[in-house]
Symmetry: C2
Subunit: 465 residues, 2 copies
């Protein structure tokens, strides 16, 4: 088991000098309580404790079959109706089985599905509430439903028919796709990437139940060693004597704005009295849309950022978050935060327009850029998590570096858009100095170089912030 | 102040015999705990208490200006920017000002709007949660926003420019219509009645703030005496020594299935140990779609139902619920239930497909007919309310009366659809005997008779259940 950070401990570039917090020119707005309107919420005061934050529901739901029972499970499974999992389905089995979605113990039944759609939260047997904003469901079609018949359990297999898991005590209910989409995304406009990929052509039924998973999910893509489970991450944080863990979700290359924000957050946590805050740099590893930079290239880029000393490997754990991406803005950011509680994070950094994208049919953002952090700060079941919003950063031409956007002198700032990044990287040009470490930038140039566009206008676009 | 029931106490038809509970052939499924899937919720056990249920937030938000300050308020208002209220806006001022939406103290600010859309609930300062599923908002356009400028308060006026209220400590935020519609209705299909009426052509901004309302809202339509406020209803229930109040929301004529359900519910509450359960028969009086039977005709029909002795006036309070109708199914039924808590009801009867309608563009119901009661039973902030779901009733041809649908003998049952009702009433024919009391039916016949259809196919349709 090795996080990228621990891996890097064994490599020579750790002797590189690490920028001092005082050099940070990208400062987070560290607000622990966000007052909205005239009804400020009562946010729990910051608590400094020795142990890691508890998982939702009190205990990680790890759903693997015991070694001694695997033979029996395989035998039983042979007689069961089979459901073939898509790649995204398999990513969800990964997510559920390791406990990222604790206390869920399998794909949602209707009760959980409805609570997710309407309340973005689940009420547990003891009356407590946990956050759950994104439906984690498995779709089947009419023919599969008929084949399942009266069976109370089914076998889940991968594309090569290998047994992955058993789903038991199943419940089959209608897949109201339009309602699911409308309530999850706040739009039903055609062109939502996850919808096109995983919902539109999916079956008209959903099947919920409890999972028994045969083996931890692996992808054999050279990156499995970075896919630490919540339990493994908790072990790592404990090993490092972390007394605070701050998570940074990303699905894009790290630029200096991000990096210095993370460094500065650590400095502030130290000032608050924490002795050893650890950064969980946590790129999303599941399904992403075609124009996002692929995971393998992002991991190379993150590696360079650590090599170049932009982040401190001693206080940084780089690991992959196995969830697929919904691009569902304020709804999805709650999922991103909640899953990190389960991995031991008690601080969550949230930026402008998290999990957002362009509206698929209109020339505007799909979400109000401020809604993500507002919704996150008010979300049921996330009261224990400290939300760290940060301001928009842009390239300050007067300083030649990334800085907070200052609305009093807009003419001094350059917003380096995805289109701009793409054009620069495709043309092997450099961005303004100070935007990204040179070796990280080179990875991006190499990535675009590796693409053989059929048409220059169709080169995928990397969105940098 | 007079509820219809108390009004009827002074009329002779109270000597009519009242059907005994034993004659009830329409029995509700009285479930106090609804277990869904494998994660049953912990529903609070039924408590029998002497006082009425507390309003949400502990106290009714009644927002009227004190008599002694009215002059001053009018003077101040004269200098303020003005917003002209639509009929629906005025109905919402009515709703808010009497405390139906307690603890709201005015049109929603962005924090409340976002919590409503995403969580169907609001977190209060003390950390407690109240239900709030439907946005109660006031839209303004660009020109109005410009006119308001830096003012912190505005005057709200009716269509004749009479001052209705002051909205103070205002907050103006974007009206993301598509997102509002998608998250409230679970669809963005064209043809949603409330959307067409109140959202599509509304302004691109929402203005929230605290209301100071000059006078209780009146409509001068001969029905104001039936529009009891939550405080007035509470007084009425207290006067009658109610130890349980069960609310029945409706926007359609009462047929014998409804009536006997209500009678039977009372019998069951008595069996549970309540000494004096009172029925709140609570027709919705705000905006309804064109093909619903208008309020005035419905009130006449309800009057006949009481006259005919189908319901007992001594234990029934008929009053008008001033809210506009959204037709937003599982989202709206929560609002209908929550508002009745504020009026003192601790039991809420929920039927099949509450607040539902046909899908505006597809040949199907807009909502799963079972979702309303499921969502209601799981809704945050409604834990104190006892939900009473009831089964589908239909006309049992073998018994010649309304009865529970028995799936083992579907051929024996007649579902009397809206279309069927309309055709019968329009043709002055009678429904099967036992479907509705004759005088109530006559009101419907008279209503359709009063319409002069431009085209026979366009006669509005009354939906009976």
């Amino acid at each position: 088991m090795a996080s990228m950070a621990t891996l890097f401990v064994n490599t020579p570039y750790h002797s590189h000098s690490f920028p001092k917090p005082s050099s940070a020119h990208f400062a987070p707005v560290l607000k622990l309580s966000t007052h909205l309107g005239s009804k400020p919420r009562n946010r729990q005061r910051l608590r400094i404790s020795n142990g890691l934050i508890e998982p939702d529901g009190g205990k990680l739901a790890e759903l693997f079959v015991e070694e001694s029972k695997k033979g029996e499970t395989k035998k039983k499974a042979a007689a069961l109706p089979r459901i073939k999992l898509s790649r995204i389905d398999l990513q969800w089995v990964h997510v559920i089985s390791e406990g990222w979605s604790s206390p869920l113990r399998g794909f949602m039944r209707e009760s959980e599905f409805l609570q997710t759609l309407h309340f973005n939260s689940l009420r547990l047997d003891d009356g407590s509430v946990v956050n759950m904003s994104v439906p984690i469901v498995l779709a089947i079609d009419d023919a599969q439903k008929r084949r399942i018949g009266q069976s109370t359990r089914v076998a889940l297999v991968d594309s090569d028919d290998n047994l992955i898991a058993i789903l038991k005590d199943i419940e089959i209910f209608k897949h109201h796709k339009e309602e699911r989409i409308a309530r999850t995304w706040g739009t039903t406009a055609p062109g939502l990437p996850y919808v096109d990929q995983a919902i539109t052509n999916a079956g008209n039924w959903l099947i919920g139940g409890d999972l028994e998973v045969l083996e931890p999910i692996k992808y054999n893509d050279g990156l499995d060693r970075f896919r630490l489970s919540p339990a493994q991450l908790r072990d790592e944080f404990t090993k490092r004597n972390a007394d605070a863990v701050f998570a940074f979700q990303l699905r894009n290359p790290v630029h200096n704005g991000h990096a210095l924000l993370m460094t500065d957050t650590r400095r502030r946590l130290l000032e608050m009295g924490y002795k050893n805050p650890i950064l969980l740099l946590h790129p999303l590893g599941g399904y992403t849309k075609a124009d996002d930079v692929p995971l393998s290239w992002r991991m190379k880029q993150h590696e360079k950022v650590l090599e170049d000393g932009v982040l401190d490997p001693e206080t940084t754990v780089v690991s992959i978050f196995p969830s697929p991406m919904h691009y569902a803005g304020p709804t999805e950011v709650q999922w991103h935060a909640k899953a990190r509680i389960n991995a031991g994070a008690n601080f969550y950094i949230v930026g402008r327009d998290p999990a957002g994208m362009d509206h698929p049919t209109e020339k505007t953002d799909l979400y109000d850029a401020d809604h993500g952090k507002k919704v996150l700060s008010m979300a049921p079941g996330l009261e224990r998590l400290n939300i760290l919003p940060f301001k928009v950063a842009a390239y300050d031409k007067t300083q030649g570096k990334m800085a907070f956007f200052d609305p009093s002198r807009p003419q001094d700032f350059l917003f380096i858009s995805g289109t701009k990044m793409r054009t620069l990287a495709r043309n092997k040009e450099n961005p303004p100095e100070g935007f990204m470490c040179p070796n990280g930038w080179k990875v991006l140039v190499d990535y675009y170089d590796s693409l053989v566009p059929a048409d220059n206008d169709k080169v995928p676009e990397a969105v940098p912030a």
